[in-house]
């Protein structure tokens, strides 16, 4: 066993190193220690995957976003080895073009843009916009035409101008859509096309555009169709599924007026996916951090593609959860089922929300325990038992998602974020515990796990913590130092002071 002196030396070296590197990084790249609340800065990344056709020159043209209402593009960049890249702006339509003489196999191109949310930004004017393209016309059948007229009349009666008319129309249409009655219009056609046609019929000047819904740390997203309506020289954005123009819903317009998102020559199976990450720090300093060559700028997570960055944003929070778990177990003495299961539960809470996550967890484990008790009469071997429970858990998750959907909670979906295998093990462990020690012990360990998980969640969801661990990964050295220190703590746990309280008089 290493002596205490060496241990303390090691711990102090780790702490000193962590602080030193963090401070140097702060000095060199100017990344602040405290996240400032100025503006939300989004790093958005479009990733184009396609299969190159052999011996043919390749040209890929991707529609690119420009400054729009509420957003300003701060800087943009393309990462793609061997390709020439150029941005053209024609008729107010911005496109990025990659080209190469020849390439082989699977190709991946990246376009990265830093977007600053700017509510005071300029509004879009009609004359700056590309011309409307002729659309594929939908032709109503006779019965459809009657239904369409009815809907238009209803919306017209309840509205005063183009904007309120559009809002009413979306409201009526989305009700029909969800109620599934009178869905004559929607039976054979896409929702967005029907809405488009109805607006055409009504003579409202509008267009269909594609927008990216900005949500923090998301990967593999695609664009959402939105409707823009012209109102006194100004384009107003509508979410076609939701009549209320929610400002909080972060729609970032990507391609406008029904122009194609991607054109490709010399390649097949093109696919565009989007990743994004929210950063809040002064944009200038952020940019500095990005372009710093060598030194600390080089060893920075910001240099990774956004897709990996979003992953790391979550991953780098894990040690904080682990630290909390170590603290709760060794210093407080809370019993949890499975050593680090609370951290994984907390990660799931990050995706859902604390309350919903807890409800989901309790319901899932509860149902699992009931079904597991039937299983135990089958006398299965452990591996087979766990495998069965995994399948059962997936069934429960699917079932809860369905129920949630039917009841109109989107939140049922969030169950899917729970790590299935971990849940299966939890259920197995708890049911063994139930048989051996009784329900009381199950309650103690179950609520212990949830308690630790919620503390871990609270630490991990904290903006300040998230900012520090992401921008100063070296601070994890300090986390390690604390974990080592706690690992050698031989004093009493808080709950032991309760357990041995009878010794007061001695």
């Amino acid at each position: 066993m290493i002596s205490k002196k060496i241990l303390f030396l090691l711990v102090s070296i780790l702490i000193a190193l962590g602080i030193f590197i963090a401070f140097m990084r702060h000095e060199q790249t100017g990344v602040p220690f405290v996240s400032s609340e100025n503006k939300d800065v989004w790093m958005v990344e479009a990733r184009v995957d396609f299969q190159a056709q052999e011996n043919r020159p390749i040209t890929v043209s991707l529609s690119l976003p420009s400054d729009t209402t509420g957003y300003k593009i701060y800087f943009e960049q393309s990462v793609s080895a061997g390709y020439g890249f150029n941005v053209s702006d024609k008729d107010g339509l911005k496109r990025g073009t990659w080209s190469v003489r020849q390439a082989k196999g699977k190709q991946t191109l990246y376009y990265k843009a830093q977007v600053v949310q700017d509510t005071a930004g300029e509004t879009l004017l009609a004359q700056d916009e590309p011309k409307l393209e002729a659309k594929d016309e939908i032709l109503w059948s006779e019965s459809e035409s009657i239904a369409a007229k009815e809907i238009l009349a209803e919306a017209y009666a309840k509205s005063s101008d183009d904007i309120s008319f559009t809002r009413e129309l979306i409201k009526i249409l989305s009700e029909i859509h969800t109620n599934q009655e009178g869905s004559l219009l929607l039976a054979k056609r896409k929702y967005i096309d029907v809405l488009n046609k109805l607006l055409d019929d009504a003579g409202v000047i509008h267009r269909m555009s594609l927008a990216l819904e900005l949500q923090d740390a998301r990967r593999n997203q695609s664009l959402t169709p939105v409707i823009e309506v012209l109102d006194r020289n100004e384009w107003v954005l509508f979410d076609p599924k939701n009549a209320l123009q929610e400002k909080s819903k972060n729609f970032f317009l990507w391609t406008r007026g029904g122009k194609s998102l991607i054109d490709i020559v010399g390649g097949t199976n093109a696919r565009v996916s989007f990743s994004m990450i929210k950063q809040n720090m002064p944009a200038l300093e952020l940019a500095q951090a990005h372009f710093e060559e060598g030194g600390f700028g080089f060893f920075s997570i910001h240099r990774l593609p956004i897709e990996e960055q979003s992953l790391f944003k979550m991953l780098l929070l894990l040690p904080i959860g682990a630290l909390i778990t170590v603290f709760m177990r060794l210093l407080i003495g809370i019993k949890t089922s499975g050593t680090f299961m609370p951290v994984l539960i907390a990660m799931a809470f990050l995706q859902t929300s604390l309350f919903l996550g807890m409800v989901n967890f309790v319901v899932l484990v509860g149902i699992g325990l009931i079904l597991r008790s039937f299983l135990s009469s089958l006398n299965l071997l452990l591996v087979a038992r766990i495998a069965t429970i995994i399948v059962i858990v997936i069934f429960i998750v699917a079932f809860m998602t369905l129920i949630g959907y039917e009841l109109g909670f989107n939140t049922g979906m969030s169950v899917a974020f729970f790590p299935i295998i971990i849940l299966a093990w939890t259920i197995e462990r708890m049911s063994i515990l139930w048989e051996e020690e009784g329900p009381k012990e199950v309650m103690i360990q179950g609520s212990g796990s949830l308690l630790v998980a919620s503390f871990a969640y609270m630490a991990m969801v904290n903006d300040y913590v998230a900012h520090l661990v992401f921008n100063f990964p070296e601070l994890h050295l300090i986390v390690i130092a604390f974990i080592i220190l706690m690992g050698r703590y031989t004093g009493y746990r808080l709950l032991e002071l309760y357990r041995f309280r009878e010794f007061k008089g001695i």
């Binding site: 006398n379 452990l382 591996v383 031989t490 004093g491 746990r493 002071l497 009878e502 010794f503």
Partner: protein, 320 residues
Amino acid sequence: MRAFINPFALKKSGILGMNSRNVEFISRYNSRKLFPLVDNKLQTKLLAQEYGINTPSLLFVVHYQHDVYGLKEKLQNISSFVIKPACGSGGKGILVIKGKKGDDFVKASGAVLSVEEVIRHVTNILAGLYSLSGDQDSAIIETLIEADPFFDAYSYQGVPDIRIIVFQGYPVMAMLRLSTKDSDGKANLHQGAVGVGLDIQTGKAIHAVMNGVKVLTHPDTKAQLDTIAIENWREMLLLACSCYDMSNLGYLGVDIVLDKNRGAMLLELNARPGLSIQIANSKGLLPRLREIEKVALKKIRVEERVDLVMNSSLFCASEK
């Protein structure tokens, strides 16, 4: 009334905490490679036989499923026995057969089992149903312990056992565990059994607790607990301490049962003995462990170690 005790007061009373036990005693004195020895009851038993330590006699072992078919003949001539999983924990999977009724077997509770049911139980053990890891296991069939009539008044079902903490071969603390109606015949304190702290020098009761609260009588039999005195205490300590020479585990919990005919027998060893023995004794382990750390000598005979603890006032000084 405060629910917590001041940590400094607790330190003063010498209570050993979980962290301290794990870091300063278990990981320092118990080498990991020795753990399988105590986690597998069959290995413990075979080793004990090698060292001449008294254990319930092993009738036979069933390792493989195909051995199960010979079980019927083997059990025919035995009237009472116990079937245990080798790697079971917490008393799970233990089947106690008290006697026979025709071709059928009678359990301790009085229920009657057919041969087929006994065989199915063995099959379950082999499949790993009761082993913690769920791996394949072996079934041990051994003679039934007949509790010393001395304990009849003190126990509800179940056989009482004596837990002795042995540190570096020296006896440190002891308690008697008596099953109750609440504990369902089991002798685990956290399941509601009564723990009677025994004076390590004399084997006489000094304190008794149930569910963490002091008790004076057994809740079911109403017998006085403070008059309990274990006979042949020195033999008991000798048995416990020789387990150190056998297992080499520096921090060890030894569970001993008293048989009517064969006297003290080793039931099982525990490499991570719990802390509640301190509550049963109303004394902390830490001063005693520190005292032993000062005086412990390697290579001295078990009698000398036991006599040192029994005859000198080794622990009295630190506990004044």
